[in-house]
């Protein structure tokens, strides 16, 4: 049961490399033989020399980041990338989605799909494909969308689980909102689920929880990789209680994204702190879960600054819908949540508080909203850790911001010619806006 990662563009390649690094170092911890076997099968294969090789393909239009990722991997001495599992060119996409989607993508389609196919055929069973990219740039977003489209065509029944990094609000790229709108609207139709990390949120975690003074991209990527790893590493699920789940992506999708209008997933985990203070901290499951639950309902991505006033609206049976429909300020309605617990005494943890039907949209079937996975193996140095993957309203506000900003620019037709010259017409833009407005509307009234 294996996952094939597709690392796209600068961001995707950096996070991908970091993810494999976290996964590998976590699996190599003490007393985790079966855990390691399962994890290795999921993310690596052994080549003829006995080296552990990541099940991943690397695409970028510039060679720099790919060669850095390959070098870092082989320097670790524990794993590496496949020798031919990458493709790069000499010239980038100039932060232009249309350039990546309409020019670079189709031009190199054959080479790229061949690489993906080769990696997929190496798996006895494909659990899913994990394309990783940012939505702001040109290569990751534009070419990434194109590659995802090709993968969907090649494997119509396989699971595609996209990981996206959303840009800083203040912006690195002037047209980042255009790129985001185009990427999201396309991926929403191609992908089975879209897991999102916002740079702003992760940046805050680095600053406030990890106490990093000068935050680099690498620090941000480490946090993202840690969170992602805590989801993807082996765990016992409701369907496989005695052995590690062999179908992690399938089970995750089954519990979270069954409705085609609701595909956006956010992630938060607890605890998160710098390694120096980790040694002096002790956590108990009830405390961790109480915090995590409040983070979920109050839509806080960190344990600091949680609004404790937000509470789950009571479901008044006599008043029926009325009571439920009353908007509680700051309350984050969920569609489905997946809680993953890792560490000591995990069997004592009580997850009942997450099953409160008041937390979920009223139309969801009973028992279909909450799932929990667990393993007693501690993750990445944390004695206990809890992660929640949530299909909820939490991404509504950032998504709305992106669309608004993009629309304001589009209204004055700013930079549109940069896109039309590569064949992305104003009509295409309008279609994408419509798609996203539909998503916003769905999540606003879940």
């Amino acid at each position: 049961m294996s996952v094939v990662a597709v690392q796209l563009g600068q961001c995707g390649n950096q996070i991908g490399q970091q993810l494999f690094s976290v996964i590998n170092s976590d699996s190599n911890g003490a007393n985790r033989k079966t855990y390691k076997e399962c994890s290795d099968e999921r993310f690596f294969y052994e080549n003829s020399k006995g080296d552990l090789v990541a099940r991943s393909v690397l695409f970028d239009m510039e060679p720099k980041v790919i060669s850095q990722a390959i070098t870092k991997a082989s320097k670790s001495g524990k794993w590496k990338y496949g020798e031919t599992a990458h493709f790069c060119q000499k010239q980038g996409s100039g932060n232009n989605w249309a350039n990546g989607f309409s020019v670079h993508g189709p031009r190199h389609e054959e080479v790229m799909t061949d690489l993906v196919r080769r990696e997929v055929e190496r798996c006895d069973r494909l659990a899913g494909i994990l394309p990783m990219m940012s939505v702001a740039g040109g290569t990751g977003s534009g070419m990434g969308t194109y590659v995802t489209q090709c993968i969907r065509d090649m494997y119509p029944n396989s699971f595609i689980f996209n990981h996206l990094t959303w840009p800083y609000c203040t912006g690195e790229v002037i047209v980042q909102n255009y790129n985001s709108v185009l990427t999201l609207s396309h991926l929403y139709q191609l992908s089975d689920a879209i897991l999102v990390h916002e740079n702003d949120t992760v940046h805050k975690i680095c600053a406030q929880l990890m106490n990093i003074k000068h935050i680099s991209i690498s620090d941000v990527n480490k946090v993202i990789a840690h969170q992602l790893g805590s989801v993807l590493q082996p765990a016992f699920t409701e369907h496989s209680l005695s052995s590690y789940s062999r179908d992690p992506i399938g089970e995750l999708l089954c519990s979270l994204v069954c409705h085609p209008e609701f595909k956006l997933l956010s992630l938060c985990n607890i605890p998160q702190m710098c390694s120096s203070s980790l040694a002096y901290s002790a956590f108990k499951w009830p405390g961790l879960l109480k915090h995590l639950r409040q983070m979920l309902i109050a839509n806080a991505k960190m344990e600091e600054g949680i609004d404790w006033k937000v509470c789950v609206p009571s479901v008044d049976k006599s008043a029926g819908e009325m009571a439920r429909n009353k908007r509680h300020v700051g309350f984050n309605t969920s569609l489905a949540n997946l809680l993953i617990l890792r560490g000591k005494d995990v069997s004592t943890a009580d997850t009942g508080a997450f099953k409160d039907s008041g937390m979920y949209a009223p139309w969801l079937p009973a028992g279909g909203t909450f799932s929990a996975w667990n393993t007693s193996v501690p993750f990445n140095g944390y004695e206990k850790s809890a992660t929640i993957v949530s299909n909820s309203q939490s991404l509504l506000r950032p998504l709305d911001n992106i669309v608004k900003k993009a629309w304001n620019m589009f209204a004055s037709r700013a930079y549109i010619h940069q896109y039309t010259k590569f064949g992305v017409s104003e009509e295409d833009f309008l279609d994408c806006f419509t798609t996203l407005e539909q998503i916003i509307s769905s999540y606003t009234h879940p």
Binding site: L126, N157, P260, V315, E321, W363, P365, A366
Partner: protein
Amino acid sequence: MRHAKSVKVKEVITALCKLLSALGIDSVPSAESFRRAKFNQADVTEELWKFLHSILMKVCVMECTYQDSAQSNLDSQSLFVRSALWHCGYGAEWVLEPKAGSLRVCVGSRDLLLAFGWILSSGNPLEFLLEEKAQQLERLSRSALDHMHLLGDGDSQVDVSGTGEGGSKPINGEMQLRTLQWQYGKLKLHWRRLLAAQEERSRLTHRILSSPAPLPETSSTDSSHKTCSTALHKELEQIQSLNATLEAYLNWKSLEPLFWSWMDSVIDNDVSRLDEDAVADVSQRDQGIKRSCSHAEKSREAVKQLNEMVQLLEAELRLGQTQQPDHSLSTQGRHQAQHLTSDRERTEVERRVTTRLQGLRLTNGRYPLPSRAYIPCLQDSQPAYSAHKPQKVESGQVRLTGKLQALDVLRDLKEREALLQWKLELLRQTQREELQDHASTLEGLVLIPPLKR
């Protein structure tokens, strides 16, 4: 060429029959019945009625999601066929204006065969049925959104009140829909997971089987697989049946042009029969011989009526020529009109007008107007367009008479056409409103607009 075609005809029709049976049409006649229908044999009429009923039930009834279970006896079936054909716009006389008495008696098997040809050629009934069939057989490959209409009209018996608060909480339609979409999505994801597991198993099985020393235990695992995969077998059967249907369709598609050329020959038969009837009728009128077939009698009646009309026409023609020869010459410059008075020409014209009027039998039947005003109308509908074909003798002839009231009559006809169109529109509107009213009173019924043809 023609011989090769006739040899292949049976094969072609058999292919069509196979496809129709595969698409779930009941009582599909054999190729031989089709052949007999071409020659209007009475013994296959009943079979064709049933067949048309079955196919129209499938094609039309699906469109308007209406099902009448009390369609068992043949009379009501033929009535349904007639109204369904009328609804689809088929313009044969027996559809538009059936004679009194049972439809089954006065409609021949060739008429029904032609009606079938018409159904087949208008719209894409086969493709429509194929799509329906494929959807039935391949449930899980459809996306959840395709099912919105199915879910929408789901009865309240379906248990979707799964919010944990029990049935006391009212759940509106949209919520039900979302719940079902969610459940459906989950089911589909499970199906895809199973598919991945199946792929893995086949990969591993292949590896075991292709390894140099196959394990003897494989047979025991096989038997355990057999017991646990009845659902898979069912799925397999469905896929095989879908495959067979698709193959039948492909086979039919390759043979379709031949079928249509055969249908042309059926039409030719029909047309030549009309001619024969007309000729026979003239002689029968003199001899006073009566035929027993009511259908033929009906045609004969029409021809008789037309003959009278022709005589009237001739008289008027003559009158027009003798009364205003100068005028006609000076205004229209038709010098050859003078020659038309010759006997030979006149018989020729008479014959042609007779045949032509037979073509217009339908119009004539609906509006019995053998009046002075109507006569040029019958002839004038052609000359207005056939003015570019001066080589035709009758066009000259008709233009000569056309000067009487051609313009008036044209105008009259146009007005009548507009009036009829308006009436038709009005009727349609009322029908639609009635249907909508009816649908709105039935809870849970979703009115799906008819397929665009």
